[in-house]
């Protein structure tokens, strides 16, 4: 059975997108291979073309690079960073991140919508990072986003699906791939999100801060695959133990 993740007309076998900002560069390759990731994010602010420790030199060839607009504080700055990424031949994918708060690093949905609209018109495949709000997600879809990337919990927190109910609403209502980005701390949480019908998982800190980074990447790969399979299989009902009503409420009906 072919079950591919489609983003902006491109297909991916893997539903695990790897963030790259918190790793030692030498292990990026091992993590990508163990995790089976086909897409890796790249903070443009970390690109040091021709210089020391240039993250681009460590991303294995053949992978889709997903440049992000980390460092942008408004739509205009995000647009500028995205254009720079294109000039650096990072392709047409861009993860829009607009953050105006250095403490919680929560995304600014309204600026993200503006940036998405501009960049989508310029032919970018826009993957906006957002706070899971249905109205904002609809606006992002209207603005031309290729996917919607709601956060599960504050970035780096490893707290898991704190916004579970709101992500479920996006899964149910938005006709675009939903990729959970930020906050996933354990493979079990990634699995749970996938079972809910989320299309892919992005994570960084959870893998980067594990004791055995490569093994954790593999654990995520397996959990994401298991969650996907479970979603497709359609999980059985969960029995609850409510008492049956002794006299039915609908017994009065005559015909």
């Amino acid at each position: 059975m072919s079950d591919k993740l489609m983003i902006g007309g491109h297909s991916f076998q893997s539903r695990f997108i790897l963030g790259s900002g918190k790793f030692s560069l030498e292990i990026v390759k091992a993590v990508v291979e163990n995790g089976g990731a086909e897409m890796v994010t790249l903070a443009l602010r970390r690109a040091n073309l021709g210089g020391e420790g240039n993250i681009l030199d460590y991303i294995p060839k053949g992978l889709t690079v997903l440049p992000n607009t980390s460092g942008a504080r408004n739509a205009q700055e995000a647009v500028r960073i995205a254009r720079l990424a294109r000039e650096m031949e990072c392709g047409n994918f861009v993860k829009v991140e607009v953050i105006q708060d250095s403490k919680y690093l929560l995304p600014d949905n309204s600026e993200t919508i503006k940036a998405t609209e501009i960049l989508a018109k310029e032919g970018f495949i826009v993957m906006p990072y957002m706070y899971p709000d249905l109205n904002a997600a609809r606006a992002l879809a209207d603005a031309g986003a290729a996917v919607v990337m709601p956060l599960a919990a504050p970035i780096g927190s490893n707290k898991g699906l704190c916004t579970k109910d709101f992500i479920q609403i996006l899964v149910d209502e938005i006709d675009l791939p939903i990729i959970v980005d930020a906050g996933i701390g354990r493979p079990s949480q990634a699995c749970e999100a996938m079972e809910m019908g989320v299309d892919a998982i992005m994570c960084n800190t959870a893998v980067a801060t594990a004791r055995d980074v490569a093994l954790m990447a593999k654990a995520f790969k397996l959990a994401i695959e298991a969650g996907r399979a479970s979603y497709l299989a359609g999980p059985g009902r969960v029995l609850d133990h409510k008492a049956e009503a002794s006299s039915p409420l609908t017994g009065f009906l005559e015909d």
């Binding site: 030692s24 443009l44 210089g51 420790g53 105006q100 800190t205």
Partner: protein
Amino acid sequence: MVVNKLNHMEYIDGMETIGSNIMDKVLFMVESYDYERFTHQDVKKALNKEHLSIEDYAAVLSPAAMPFLEEMAQKAKGETRKHFGNSVCLFTPLYIANYCENQCIYCGFNCTNKIRRGKLSVQEVEEELQAIAATGLKEILLLTGESRKKSGVEYIGEAVKLAAKYFSAIGIEIYPLNSDEYAYLHQCGADFVSVYQETYNIAKYGQVHVRGPKRIYPYRFNAQERALLGGMRGVAFGALLGLDDFRKDAFAAGLHAFFIQQKYPRAEISFSTPRLRPYIHNAENNPTDVHEKQLLQVILAYRLFMPYAGITISTRERAGFRDHVIGMAATKISAGVRVGVGGHKEEEKGDEQFEISDSRSVAEVHHMILSRGLQPVYTDYIWV
């Protein structure tokens, strides 16, 4: 002893006032900070929390926290990893001048000290920048002594523009400016401003800043806010630990940064932790002396209170200390440092402000970072 009758709490002509209440808030809280009242229980309670309140911050800075340095370090390391991953940023300072109009009794650049003074010409600045860029660094901090007359804003602006040709991130550590002047330097390419209050104790501040514009306490205090109003992205805070009661000063510096971030949520916050070393062979232990243990306590307290803030570790500290605090709490380390004027390409044109304890090159620091399982990061910034 020189006594200056000029009221150091009043602005003088030309100094912009911005009507901020942050200084009053900080001073009020520091005034009532009695660190002796904290117990081991208070410290344990603070260390068990996910987010430290101001009260918890006060506890981990107190003497009661000294037996808990290991626990603090463990927790700090987790926070640092969570927020910064494996990254350790590299940079170097470049002193482009050392003229100074201030008489600060603790400082090597003190205007009454008979040291070699100098200022790089624009061409010399460029040569120094080229020599530093050749080491692979992408972030630079430009410093002058504090002399508006000798090192004017225009001159600094020219240096910043040149730096922008070779470096991705540019910080300035110069005399405090008005917001329009910060805006000008921002347009030239600078995005980070460091201003250290030295001590937050008003009386002590007046005693040690005898002469010069630096004497005006509130103008210096509000410099970060003016820098942000001028469009700068990040501001750095710090007290010169050991100049006065270091616990109160560190408490104040933390609150100062905390309230600035609250008022300007997008501001990137960082700390530096310079200290005056205790006299060697000082048998009498002075509780306000800042030995390595106390210095580490302050660094860890900053990390626990503001886990998202950058912390820079100074070359004034020995290599063995610096190597251990990166990854644990510090996120940025200088390398290939010269603290005289120039000295990267040509002979130094002026004397040093202080002695450094870690003279390792960029390549040496790079390898040290790798050997500790961390990642040297040359650029973590993009000009937009």
